[in-house]
């Protein structure tokens, strides 16, 4: 005889047990919170996020440096490195969430001025370091300084310069020095015919954004005036600059440059193809590791002279401390200590990170004035003066959210590329770009 025995595992029992399990798991953090928070309070921590440096050895040095500082000061330090193109999105995420790293390292456009309301005032820290290590250069002041109330919302770390890098043997071969934009066009055309074109990107990335601004300034054009309130792009000078780029593209470059990212021009010269690029010295440092013969032939020069001036764009790195940072004091102390050891940072970057405080790396600068890995040893010496010919995108006015958006939308790159590819005439191209800038400026002028 069989009898129907009720199942031991009923739906009600399942629900009851599952509910209790979920409740226990959910309440665990709440129950343990008093003990956990006490434990955290005892151990200080400092978290830092910054871009993955183009000189990997610098990241290794920085990580160890931060760790050693933490050990000395009983602070647990963590450093995260993210790709440079992710910096802006990460900053937006941390600001929106009101949570994230204590110290945020920005690179290039955007940053301190955009996030001003989310960052603590570091004026006293910057002034203290300035007293010790000398005045801040023009490019340094364009970064985290707020002109309206003379305060600093970020600590300026370094800037990246964009000198000319050229293959000396090739240019000597045609008897032309690439020291002016005209010479680059004329000589570049000859070298292109020999299979060694000029390589300046017309794509969507940081390098063309920086280089073409430098050319625009050299021709007397600019996106905005000194006050930063007016768009002055639609000018005769801008049209001349764009006409020149169209000629340079047709005569001295190939269409490859339209698709380039920031590493393409490095590969172009390091592979021995290109005769000239405009780039930070990472291209040269990489060539020293990959192709010594080419590296020995790469020489460095100030930016080319234009009809009006000799000037070039630069990119800047600076640290902000969030208002929501859990350990603001530790962040400030770390920056002070970091400034005191900035020469080591400079050496670790192989001379890539350029100083913003006048005497923080006394001249003659190590490596740049006498680089044992270069022949001749003073090959990079000219870079010591780069603060005289470098500026961030807002030049001659301040960098502010509108100039950042012009930069992020690649408007200057596209202005040059539209004329270079023949999609628009130089005049039409400048008009198009000026309209785009006007729209962006009108929008931001009502919001800042």
């Amino acid at each position: 005889m069989s009898t129907a025995t009720p199942s031991r595992f009923t739906r009600r029992r399942f629900l009851k047990q599952t509910g209790l399990t979920v409740l226990a798991a959910g309440s665990a953090p709440v129950l343990s919170a008093p003990f956990v928070s006490a434990a955290f309070a005892d151990a200080k921590s400092l978290s830092i996020v910054q871009w993955s440096h183009f000189v990997p050895a610098y990241d290794k040095w920085f990580d160890q440096f931060a760790k050693d500082w933490g050990t000395k000061n009983n602070v647990s330090v963590s450093v995260d490195h993210i790709p440079v193109q992710d910096v802006a999105a990460r900053a937006a995420a941390e600001a929106s969430a009101g949570s994230g790293h204590d110290l945020f390292g920005w690179n290039g456009a955007g940053g301190a001025h955009l996030y001003r309301k989310f960052l603590i005032d570091v004026t006293s820290l910057v002034e203290e370091v300035q007293k010790k290590y000398g005045k801040i250069s023009v490019i340094g002041k364009q970064i985290g300084f707020n002109q309206d109330d003379n305060t600093w919302s970020a600590f300026p770390d370094y800037y990246i310069n964009f000198p000319v890098m050229y293959r000396k043997s090739l240019w000597d071969g045609i008897g032309i020095q690439p020291d002016s934009w005209d010479n680059i066009r004329i000589g570049g055309a000859k070298l292109k015919a020999k299979g060694n074109p000029v390589g300046i990107s017309l794509g969507h990335s940081n390098d063309p954004n920086t280089t073409w601004r430098g050319l625009l300034w050299s021709f007397g054009g600019a996106v905005q005036d000194e006050t930063g309130k007016h768009v002055v792009l639609d000018s005769k000078e801008s049209v001349e600059a764009v006409k020149f780029v169209a000629a340079l593209y047709k005569e001295a470059m190939t269409s490859d440059v339209l698709s380039w990212n920031d590493s393409s021009n490095n590969q172009y010269i390091d592979s021995g193809v290109s005769s000239l690029i405009v780039n930070p010295i990472s291209a040269y440092r990489t060539a020293q590791q990959l192709n010594k013969k080419v590296a020995d032939d790469i020489f460095v020069m100030k930016p080319p002279k234009g009809p009006v001036k000799q000037f070039m764009g630069g990119a800047a790195e600076f640290y902000g401390i969030w208002k929501f940072a859990k350990n603001q004091d530790a962040a400030k102390e770390f920056l002070k200590y970091y400034a005191d050891h900035w020469v080591d940072a400079f050496k670790a970057s192989s001379g890539y990170n350029m100083p913003i405080f006048a005497n923080i790396v006394p001249k003659p600068m190590p490596l740049l004035s006498d680089d044992p890995t270069s022949t001749p040893r003073d090959k990079l010496a000219i870079l010591q003066t780069s603060d005289e010919w470098s500026a961030v995108p807002g030049y001659p006015g301040p960098a502010w959210p509108a100039t950042d958006e012009v930069y992020n939308n690649f408007i200057i790159c596209d202005m040059m590329a539209k004329a270079a590819t023949g999609a628009l005439t130089a005049e039409e191209s400048v008009k198009w770009a000026a309209q785009q800038c006007d729209g962006i400026f009108n929008k931001w002028l009502h919001r800042v």
Binding site: H204, N261, Y268, N408, G439
Partner: protein, 310 residues
């Protein structure tokens, strides 16, 4: 022999029946997490985005000042936005069409028995499963202006010389073709799965009857099987269109919207303006512009499916 069933002792029914024993209540409890998830993680951010788009909110000045439809008016007056809108339509519909064609042929091939078919079926899912960041690196090298594997092969085979090599990501038309191909490559395994599910659900006797009546391969496929599986394909297509229309990853990783803005799509533009440049309100307006367009497309397709439902 007959089993004698023990008489069931009538239990006194509880006055208060445990509420979770009611199937209606229990169903609601089980569905609640999904509804909560949609409300909190989709509905909440969506409403926030709607408010951002009609406010003056920026990262510089996180104010909630109401500006009406001013942000929308400004973006539609921008030629760069209109170009991005046009690119988005081209990118979406061309990649879906290409994905469907590849999916259909892939499904037909995978229906035939051959050694290792199970392995091939598993491998074919890879483009869908591989993270797009990883896949884009490989595609970038294939389309690279200096080291393109495609160009190298064409040159090695003597089909073209170096001077004629296509500049895949540097020519505006070719660059658009590249992002379309990469997106179709991502989508086609999904299309294969949809087609396989559809084709295998067609009753064999219908196909047999058509064969007996003299229908050949093409007629069977396009006059019998396709009409029958069209509603399933349309559902897959809705997913594909929605995901592609709102996608920015392929463009962001492969071209950054270049050359000269030729591959800039709405998702990418919304990200650049709203997140990278900190103008959240205009970024939200650009992103939300996709909503009515997608709504119309989805409603039209759903109506089509209802009419064609067999």
């Amino acid at each position: 022999m007959v089993d004698i069933v023990e008489p069931i002792v009538a239990r006194r029914s509880p006055r208060y029946r445990f509420w979770l024993d009611r199937s209606g209540v229990l169903g609601a409890v089980f569905v609640a997490p999904a509804i909560l998830y949609v409300l909190l993680l989709v509905g909440g951010p969506f409403l926030l985005a709607v408010y951002y788009s009609i406010s003056a909110y920026t990262i510089y000045d996180p104010s909630w000042q109401f500006v009406g439809l001013a942000n929308f008016r400004q973006i539609v007056q921008n030629p760069a936005f209109l170009e991005a809108l046009e690119n988005t339509f081209l990118f979406t519909f061309a990649s879906q069409l290409l994905g469907l064609i590849l999916g259909k042929f892939g499904a037909l091939l995978l229906l035939r028995p051959f050694p290792g078919r199970k392995l091939v079926r598993a491998l074919i899912i890879l483009p869908w499963a591989v993270p797009i960041a990883l896949a884009s690196v490989a595609w970038q090298w294939m389309f690279d202006s200096l080291y393109s594997v495609i160009n190298w092969t064409l040159i090695a085979l003597g089909i073209i010389d170096r001077a004629q090599a296509p500049n895949w990501l540097g020519n505006p038309h070719l660059a658009m073709l590249c992002v379309i191909v990469v997106n179709a490559w991502r989508f086609f395994p999904f299309a294969i799965v949809i087609f396989l599910a559809g084709i295998t659900s067609v009753p064999q006797d219908v196909i047999d009857a058509a064969t007996v009546d003299g229908a050949g391969f093409w007629r069977r496929n396009y006059q019998i099987i396709m009409p029958m599986i069209l509603p399933i394909v349309a559902i897959g297509l809705i997913f594909g269109i929605v995901f592609t229309f709102t996608d920015l990853s392929v463009v962001y990783l492969l071209t950054n919207g270049g050359p000269v803005g030729a591959t800039s799509v709405l998702g990418f533009q919304g990200f650049q303006v709203g997140i990278v440049s900190g103008d959240v309100s205009h970024g939200a307006a650009i992103s939300l512009f996709m909503l009515p367009v997608l709504f119309i497309v989805v409603v039209a397709m759903l109506r089509f499916i209802r009419r064609r439902d067999i």
